[in-house]
C-alpha cells in the first residue's frame, strides 16, 4: 500500500534559515571576500551577486579520524599488473594511492569553500554598516511635499468631487423619511375608497368626495418633497498627507584634466560607482548630477562622465561654481538632501584653491549634508589638499577628505568616509 503525495507546492526554502545562519556566522569572512571582489571586479559587474570563496579551514567542522602513518592495509580494485610480493614506491607527498574517501574529507586540495551569493546578499555585505552621514528625515512641516489620499465621505466639497451613488442614496433616505407617514395615510384612504365603491349608496357619495379630496391633498404634499436637496449631496473627501521625504541628490565632481591619467580616472570612476549604488539603495529617490571639469566645468550624463576624454588645465572652482548654480536652479536645499563628492589628483591652478575655499564655506557647505573629497595620487599633496584640510578642521561634521593611492584603497576609504556614525 502506498500513499502518493505531491509536495511541489510546499515551501521551497525550507533550509533558508540554515543558509542565513551560515551567512551570519561567517559574516566577517564573507565581508572580506566581498570587499576583495569589489576591488577586483570590473565596474559593470559590481552590483551583481556571484561566486564568493572563503578559506575552508575557517569553516571546517573538525571530527576525529585517523591521520597518516602506522600500518595500513588497503584493498583496491582494478589490478592490472601487480603480483603478490611486489614493492611499489610511495607516491610523492606520502598520500598513499587514493586513500579512499577519508583523505578528501580532511580537505586536501580544497583550500577554499566556494558558494554563490544573490545580488541582494552581495550588496548587503558590501554596504553593511554604512550609512550616509547626517542623513536626516526632514521634519514633517514647512515646505513639505503632500500627496492626496482618499479620506472617506464629506458633506461639503467641490462639485467635481460629488459622489453620485452616496448622494442619491441619501436623497432617497430623506424622501422615505419625510413622506412615510403621509404615504401610510394615503394607503388607508385608497383602501377605504375601494371599499365604498363596491357598495354604492348616497351616503357613501359624500364620503367618497371627502376621501378624494384628502387623497389629492396628500399627493400634493408628497409631491412637494424635493427629489434632491442640497444637504443630500455627498462629496469624496481628499486629504493631504505629508510625505516623509528621503530625496537626495549627489553631485559627482571629477577632474578630467591632462594631469589625470587613465589609471587615476579609473580609480575615481570606481569610487563614484560605489557611491552611486550606495545612494540608490538608501534613498527612495536619488538623483545624480555629474560634473566634470578641466579649466571649465560641464554637466554631463553618466556615460559621458565616465567614458569620454578631454584634456586641459585645471580650475577646480569652475566645477564648484557650477554645482552651486545647479543647486540654486533645481535642488532647493529645503527639499533635497544634497551630497557632494569630488575626486581629483590634487592639481589646481595656483590661486584658484582659495576661491574654492570661499565657495565651499560660503555657498556649498551650508546647503550640503556632506561633502567629501578624495585625492588620488602617489605624489606630495598640493595646495588644494592643504586648503581643504583647513576646511575640514572648521567643519568636521560635514566635510571629509581622504587620500587614495591605488585601487585597493577605494573600498576601505569609501567605508571610512561613509562609516555609520555611532550616535
Amino acid at each position: 500500500m502506498s500513499y502518493i503525495i505531491d509536495r511541489r507546492l510546499n515551501a521551497k526554502n525550507k533550509s533558508a534559515v540554515n543558509r542565513q545562519r551560515f551567512l551570519r556566522r561567517y559574516r566577517h569572512q564573507i565581508q572580506k571576500a566581498v570587499s576583495d571582489a569589489v576591488n577586483e571586479r570590473s565596474i559593470t559587474d559590481i552590483d551583481k551577486g556571484g561566486k564568493i570563496s572563503i578559506p575552508a579551514r575557517d569553516i571546517s567542522e573538525p571530527v576525529i579520524y585517523h591521520g597518516q602513518g602506522g600500518y595500513n592495509e588497503r584493498v583496491l580494485p582494478g589490478n592490472r599488473h601487480f603480483s603478490e610480493g611486489d614493492k611499489i614506491a610511495r607516491p610523492e607527498g606520502g598520500g598513499g594511492q587514493g586513500a579512499g574517501g577519508k583523505a578528501s574529507d580532511s580537505g586536501e586540495g580544497m583550500d577554499d569553500f566556494s558558494f554563490t551569493l544573490s545580488q541582494e546578499e552581495f550588496l548587503d555585505f558590501m554596504f553593511d554598516g554604512l550609512e550616509l552621514p547626517n542623513l536626516v528625515k526632514r521634519q514633517l512641516s514647512g515646505l513639505e511635499e503632500f500627496k492626496n489620499v482618499r479620506g472617506g465621505i464629506a458633506n461639503e466639497g467641490q462639485p467635481g468631487r460629488i459622489n453620485i451613488v452616496r448622494s442619491l442614496r441619501s436623497a432617497n433616505m430623506r424622501r422615505l423619511a419625510l413622506t412615510g407617514n403621509k404615504r401610510r395615510q394615503l394607503q388607508a384612504l385608497y383602501e377605504e375608497l375601494a371599499e365604498i365603491e363596491k357598495s354604492e349608496t348616497d351616503r357613501n357619495t359624500f364620503r367618497r368626495e371627502e376621501i378624494k379630496e384628502a387623497i389629492a391633498k396628500l399627493e400634493r404634499s408628497i409631491g412637494k418633497v424635493p427629489w434632491l436637496d442640497t444637504f443630500d449631496l455627498k462629496y469624496n473627501l481628499m486629504i493631504k498627507q505629508p510625505v516623509p521625504r528621503s530625496k537626495a541628490v549627489m553631485f559627482c565632481i571629477m577632474d578630467v584634466s591632462g594631469s589625470m591619467d587613465q589609471a587615476t580616472k579609473d580609480i575615481a570612476k570606481r569610487f563614484f560607482i560605489l557611491l552611486y549604488l550606495f545612494l540608490q539603495r538608501n534613498y527612495e529617490k536619488t538623483e545624480i548630477v555629474f560634473i566634470r571639469h578641466h579649466t571649465s566645468a560641464k554637466e554631463v550624463d553618466e556615460d559621458e562622465f565616465f567614458h569620454s576624454r578631454e584634456t586641459g588645465g585645471t580650475v577646480v572652482s569652475s566645477a564648484l561654481r557650477l554645482m552651486q548654480e545647479i543647486i540654486a536652479d533645481r535642488y532647493p536645499p529645503s527639499q533635497w538632501d544634497i551630497y557632494g563628492a569630488q575626486a581629483s589628483d590634487g592639481d589646481n591652478w595656483g590661486e584658484d584653491s582659495d576661491v574654492c575655499r570661499e565657495i565651499l564655506i560660503n555657498e556649498l557647505l551650508p546647503a550640503c549634508q556632506y561633502f567629501s573629497y578624495i585625492e588620488i595620487t602617489n605624489n606630495e599633496h598640493q595646495a588644494l589638499w592643504n586648503v581643504y584640510e583647513t576646511i575640514r578642521q572648521q567643519y568636521p561634521e560635514s566635510f571629509a577628505l581622504e587620500h587614495i593611492r591605488g585601487a585597493g584603497d577605494i573600498y576601505p576609504v569609501f567605508r571610512e568616509l561613509f562609516h555609520k556614525k555611532v550616535a
Binding site: I5, Y65, V75, G78, N79, S83, I88
Partner: protein, 498 residues
C-alpha cells in the same frame, strides 16, 4: 504481448500509482516485506533542501546545514553535479522523494530502488531492527526541532550553536554499540525531558560532592576511578556527568546523540543497503520487461542509468574515490543468486551451505543477519574478487616501500576477503577513544585514551576537537594515544599537567 504501462517519458500521478501497484505486487511475489510507502514528488530546490539536512525530513536549524546547502546549490547551478534521483528515509511509513524532473523511466527505477529495495532492507536488517525505531523517528525529529528552537529563544542562537558545534564534532562518539534504546513517542519524550530537567535542578551533581562522608570512606575510594569502567559513548558520558552544563544543554547533547544513534546502522550497512536496493531494482525492472509492462526503450534508458551507477573506476583512474558500494553490493547480491542457481565447483567448495539452495531465501537471510563487515567476510566469492580485480596493499610507515600482500588468485582470496571486510569494520575505521578517568578530587580534568590500532595516529584535526570537548566538559581535557601500555602522543586542552 500485453500493452505496456507507458510509452513516453512524461510521468503523471496516475502512472506513478499504476507502476507502484505493479511493482508492489511483484515485490510480494519475490517475498519482499516492506513498510507502507509514502511517495512524495518534490522539485529540485526541495531536493537540495533535503540534501542539506542530511536526508532528515525535519531537522533543527544549524549553520552547517546552510553550508551544505550553499555548496550544493553552487555546484548544481553551475552544472558541476547532478542531484541524486531519490532520497529515502527509514521511517514507517517509509518516505521516498521523487524529483519532478525525472522521466517516467527514472521514476519507475526510483520506486523499485527506494520503495521496495531500501524499504525492505530497513524493515528486515537486524541492525535497523535493533537500533532504530521507524515509527517514532519523525515524532522525535519534530520534538528535537521544537526543543532546539525553544532553546534558541530562551538562551540565544549563539549559545545553542556553540553546544551543537561541539556535539557535532563528537557525533561519532555518541552511539551505544551494545544496548537497545527503548522506543518512545514524542509526547513521552517531552514528559521525560521535563522530568530529567526537574531532577537535575533539584539534585547536586555527583562530581561536586567532594566533601567526604567519613575519613574511612575516603581512603577506600582513594584509588577508585571515575568512571569505574572506561566509557566509549563520550556524548552520553558528558550528558550525564559534565559538571557545569545547564539542564537544557544536556538535553541538546541527548538530541544529537539520539540522531547519531539513528544513523549508526546506516554507516555500517552501506554496501549491503545499496547493493540490496540495486539488486532489487535490477531484478524487478527486468521482470517488468519480461512480462511486457515496459518497452525496450525503457530498458535502454534504465540500463544506461544502472550501469553508470554500478561503474567501478580502477584505482589509478582520476575518477577513483574508493570502492563503489553500489558496485560491490550489487555484484555480491547478484553473485549469491548465481551461486544458488548455477553453482560451479569452486562455489561448492567455498559456499557448500548455500550452493544450490533457494536464492530468495538465501538472500533474505543474508540481508537480515549481517552488516557490511560480516557480510563481506561471509559472502564475498572468488568470482567477484576476480571480476573486480581486487588486490590488497600494505602501507607501513616503517617500510620504505608499499608492498602488495594479496591479489585475486587462489592464495590471495582469503587474505583479500579479510582485509576488505576489515576495511568496513567501523571499529578499525574510527579511532577507538574512551573516557578513561576524571580527576574528581583534583582539578576535575578529564582524561581520555585513544587505543591505537596498527600504530595509526590521530589526524591533525584532533586538537580542534579537543577544544569542543573542553567546552562541553568545562575543565581541562587530556587525550593520550596509547599503544600497548605506552603513551605515544598526548593532546591537551587547557594548561598542561605538571
Amino acid at each position: 504481448m500485453k500493452k505496456p504501462l507507458f510509452t513516453t517519458s512524461e510521468w503523471n500521478f496516475d502512472l506513478i500509482r499504476e507502476v507502484d501497484q505493479v511493482l508492489g505486487d511483484l515485490a510480494v511475489e519475490f517475498g519482499l516485506d516492506t513498510y507502507p510507502n509514502q511517495i512524495e514528488v518534490i522539485s529540485s530546490e526541495q531536493m537540495m533542501d533535503a540534501y542539506s539536512s542530511v536526508g532528515m525530513p525535519i531537522g533543527y536549524s544549524h549553520w552547517s546545514y546552510g553550508k551544505q546547502l550553499l555548496s550544493t546549490e553552487h555546484s548544481y547551478k553551475r552544472g558541476q553535479m547532478g542531484l541524486a534521483y531519490e532520497i529515502v528515509i527509514n521511517s514507517n511509513p517509509c518516505i521516498a522523494y521523487l524529483m519532478e524532473e525525472n522521466t517516467m523511466t527514472m521514476q519507475t527505477l526510483v520506486i523499485a530502488h527506494a520503495c521496495y529495495g531500501h524499504n525492505s532492507f530497513f524493515k528486515g536488517n537486524y541492525l535497523f531492527r535493533t537500533w532504530t525505531d521507524a515509527s517514532s523517528i519523525i515524532d522525535y525529529l519534530v520534538f528535537a526541532k521544537n526543543y532546539i528552537s525553544r532553546c534558541e529563544e530562551r538562551y540565544g542562537i549563539n549559545e545553542v550553536e556553540d553546544i551543537l558545534d561541539s556535539c557535532h564534532a563528537l557525533m561519532n562518539y555518541g552511539v551505544d554499540r551494545y544496548k537497545r534504546p527503548y522506543p518512545i513517542s514524542a509526547h513521552e519524550e517531552e514528559r521525560r525531558q521535563n522530568e530529567r530537567e526537574e531532577y537535575l535542578r533539584k539534585h547536586v551533581n555527583d562530581l561536586w560532592r567532594t566533601i567526604p562522608k567519613s575519613a574511612a570512606a575516603e581512603s577506600l575510594k582513594e584509588e577508585a576511578h571515575f568512571p569505574s569502567e572506561p566509557q566509549e559513548n563520550i556524548l552520553y558520558f558528558l550528558e550525564k556527568n559534565s559538571p557545569l552544563l545547564e539542564p537544557w544543554q544536556r538535553e541538546v547533547i541527548r538530541i544529537v546523540r539520539k540522531i547519531a544513534q539513528y544513523f549508526y546502522p546506516q554507516r555500517q550497512t552501506q554496501v549491503m543497503n545499496e547493493g540490496w536496493a540495486t539488486f532489487w531494482h535490477y531484478t524487478l525492472l527486468n521482470e517488468l520487461h519480461a512480462r511486457g509492462y515496459v518497452t525496450d526503450g525503457f530498458m535502454m534508458e534504465f540500463l544506461q542509468s544502472h550501469t553508470s551507477v554500478v561503474a567501478q573506476p580502477s584505482y589509478e583512474s582520476p575518477y577513483y574515490s574508493g570502492i563503489n558500494p553500489y558496485t560491490l553490493g550489487f555484484s555480491m547480491m547478484s553473485d549469491i543468486r548465481r551461486i544458488c542457481e548455477n553453482p560451479t565447483d569452486e562455489d561448492r567448495e567455498w559456499f557448500p551451505e548455500i550452493a544450490g539452495t533457494n536464492w530468495k531465501e538465501t538472500l533474505q537471510f543474508a540481508m537480515k543477519n549481517f552488516k557490511d563487515e560480516s557480510f563481506i567476510l561471509q559472502f564475498l566469492s572468488p568470482k567477484v574478487m576476480r571480476d573486480l580485480k581486487l588486490f590488497s596493499i600494505v602501507d607501513d610507515d616503517q617500510q620504505e616501500k608499499i608492498s602488495v600482500d594479496a591479489i585475486h588468485n587462489e592464495r590471495g582470496f582469503r587474505k583479500l576477503r579479510e582485509n576488505l571486510a576489515g576495511q568496513y569494520n567501523l571499529g578499525n575505521r574510527e579511532p577507538n577513544i574512551q573516557v578513561y578517568n576524571v580527576d574528581v578530587r583534583g582539578d576535575r580534568s578529564l582524561t581520555l585514551h585513544h587505543f591505537m590500532h596498527n600504530r595509526r595516529p590521530l589526524a591533525d584535526s584532533t586538537p580542534e576537537v579537543l577544544k569542543h570537548l573542553h567546552r562541553l566538559w568545562g575543565f581541562d581535557v587530556h587525550l593520550h594515544s596509547v599503544d600497548g601500555n605506552e603513551i605515544k602522543q598526548s593532546y591537551h586542552c587547557g594548561p598542561k599537567p605538571h
